[in-house]
């Protein structure tokens, strides 16, 4: 019996969290008749898209032993840049989309430079960006939201092709797969683990640690930009308050998925499971009409339990 449990824990890198996710789904299916349906599964996928896109970038950041607190604010800056370029700048929307994503990437590059050249700890550099990018997001329109996107833009999030897949969801899925392949099979991706394990050793082994750092934060910023565009499509508007405290949900998802905040450990599979755990929890608790205050307690407890299961599981194995 014990051997069985032990084997289950060894099921890939995301084994523990994956079992947790399945358990959650079973519990919600029993507790709510509305949970287990194709439509609800699509709702969940739709609700986690933005968080998922952010978590892809955060996974790389946490693997190299960093942290990115700025993603929620950078998302807001990108979503406001998008609306502002379209409405006040007169740019065609496709161009504005590209520029908004690049604006997010720009924020990431600045974080990367502050960390590598400026020698700031990642926590401090991205904390500064958290504040700065939020301010920029507000300045663009003096704190007002922007509406008036064309129909085709909001359809990116609302129209489900082949009956289930919206464009924003597909973007998330494609990015997740690319991230998984890169981290798992490309030398560049494997290098990130080496940097997170011991950056000095990695440097001596010939890995360009500084450059990799800048790339990783730029990548996280770019993805925050993509998430900002996806959120604008989902809400059919741009709001400067968007993404408030999303960085915490994102970090929680990555950590639930088995990544270690001290670096060198984690993976895309685990992160996606973590994202689903948070999405399923929120959705299931809403379906059960649980008050948002109780939801906060439950989510806190799940974060603690998930990480505990993971570390205890690893210790038994080791």
């Amino acid at each position: 019996m014990y051997a069985h449990v032990k084997r289950l824990f060894q099921f890939g890198e995301a084994g523990g969290p994956f079992i947790g996710l399945i358990l959650l789904c079973v519990v919600f299916s029993l507790a709510s008749e509305h949970f287990l349906s194709a439509r609800n599964a699509l709702n969940i996928l739709d609700q986690i898209t933005v968080l998922g896109i952010l978590a892809i970038g955060m996974t790389a950041v946490i693997i190299i032993g960093g942290i990115d607190l700025s993603v929620g604010s950078v998302l807001a800056f990108a979503t406001m840049t998008l609306g502002w370029l379209m409405r006040d700048g007169g740019f065609p929307l496709p161009v504005a989309i590209v520029l908004a994503i690049l604006a997010g990437g720009g924020c990431g590059v600045i974080c990367g430079l502050l960390i590598t050249i400026g020698r700031l700890p990642p926590f401090v550099a991205t904390l500064a960006m958290l504040s700065g990018a939020r301010g920029l997001a507000n300045i663009l329109t003096d704190g007002r939201q922007i509406i008036g996107y064309p129909e085709w833009f909001s359809e990116l999030a609302t129209v489900r092709h082949f009956g289930f897949l919206s464009v924003t969801m597909s973007v998330f899925i494609v990015l997740a797969i690319l991230g998984w392949v890169y981290l798992r099979f490309r030398a560049g991706g494997r290098n990130l683990y080496a940097i997170g394990g011991n950056s000095e050793v990695a440097r001596l082994a010939g890995i360009r640690v500084r450059l990799a750092n800048i790339w990783v934060y730029a990548f996280s910023g770019l993805l925050a930009g993509v998430a900002g565009v996806a959120l604008a499509a989902r809400l059919d508007s741009s709001q400067p308050s968007a993404g408030f405290t999303y960085e915490l949900d994102t970090i929680a998802a990555v950590v639930i998925g088995g990544a270690s905040l001290s670096g060198g450990k984690g993976g895309m599979g685990g992160t996606i499971v973590g994202v689903f755990i948070i999405g399923v929890l929120r959705n299931g608790l809403n379906l059960l009409a649980v008050s948002p205050f109780v939801q906060q307690i439950v989510i806190g407890a799940v974060i603690a339990i998930a990480v505990m299961m993971d570390t205890l599981g690893r210790r038994r194995r080791g």
Binding site: R39, G143, R144, T158, L235, S237, P292
Partner: protein, 309 residues
């Protein structure tokens, strides 16, 4: 009835009060706003500043960004700057009394807007009669649905005055229609648009028969309307909001929202400044001034978009 009378009397005396301002006394009025991210507060701030400009007073505006602790510090700073009066729009779930106490101790009169404090209350209090407005909205829903329907509510932040008043008023109207019932409610954490989408989806998942959704604020209602679009439900869903902010009104015009209750936010800002001056100059000011909100549908939305009341 008596309250209405006082209201009429005060409004009638307003032109008089402002014409008295011909003398060149310069007052400084502190304006502590709850959260400038919300259009509702932004309108109040803009109109208060315009009124200050027009009458020749200096308005010092501070924004708490929804954080009541931050607001307490900001008001302390305003008191230190020796403002002549304070206009206080409380941030957070409940109105903090501390700033009012501190201002009174310093001899500064306080005009509370939107939410009143308990002990002590402001020297005067200006707000929308939310309960009555929500009741009118409930009657509208009953009229459109013929008194039959399954209502889902995307609630605001639990425990806040607007959430409680809008709930009470709306349910008061629905109580008259046995075929029209609120079956599902789910609260948002902070009145946000994106919460409206997710909660709207989950409400429809919980009960696919829902054919009326009341978003307790326009942002929540617009989110819920988006959720209805996503859900592809076969029947019509009537989505109504509350506040009449800029985007809410446009949503009504486009038909995404069936109706909203437009609050007289600009009037609130103007009144706040005039009452502040009246208090400084020791004139009579009513303890409470409740303003009407107007049911806004496609028929009458244009004039509110043109000039916000």
């Amino acid at each position: 009835m008596f309250k209405k009378f006082i209201m009429a009397a005060t409004v009638a005396s307003l032109p008089l009060a402002s014409s008295v301002q011909a003398h060149d006394q310069k007052y400084t009025i502190g304006l502590a706003v709850a959260n400038l991210q919300a259009d509702f507060f932004n309108f109040i701030k803009e109109s208060a500043e315009e009124e200050g400009d027009r009458l020749g007073y200096e308005i010092i505006t501070v924004d708490a960004g929804g954080d009541s602790a931050k607001q307490v510090s900001q008001i302390q700073d305003l008191i230190t700057r020796e403002v002549d009066a304070l206009i206080y729009i409380p941030a957070g779930a409940t109105a903090a009394d501390v700033p009012v106490r501190a201002a009174k101790k310093a001899g500064i009169p306080v005009v509370n807007v939107d939410r009143n404090t308990q002990s002590p209350p402001g020297d005067t209090f200006i707000a929308t009669d939310s309960e009555e407005a929500a009741r009118i909205l409930g009657e509208y829903v009953a009229e459109v649905t013929g008194g039959k329907g399954v209502v889902g509510v995307v609630q605001g932040q639990l425990g806040t005055t607007p959430e409680i008043a809008r709930d009470t008023g709306f349910e008061k109207a629905l109580a008259n229609y046995p075929g029209l019932n609120t079956v599902e409610k789910q609260a948002s954490k902070g009145w946000h648009h994106d919460e409206g989408v997710s909660i709207g989806q989950d409400l429809l998942q919980r009960n696919p028969d829902i054919n009326v959704i009341f978003g307790r604020a326009d942002a929540l209602a617009m989110g819920a309307a988006q959720a209805v679009r996503l859900a592809n439900v076969s029947h019509d869903v009537l989505v109504v909001g509350f506040d009449g902010d800029r985007e809410g009104l446009i949503a009504v015009k486009q038909g995404r929202l069936a109706a909203t209750m437009t609050q007289q936010t600009k009037l609130m800002g103007r009144l706040a400044v005039r009452f502040a001056v009246d208090l400084i100059e020791n004139r009579f000011v009513p303890a409470e001034m409740l303003l009407d909100a107007t049911l806004t549908t496609k028929e009458n939305v244009d004039r509110f978009i043109e000039v916000h009341p």
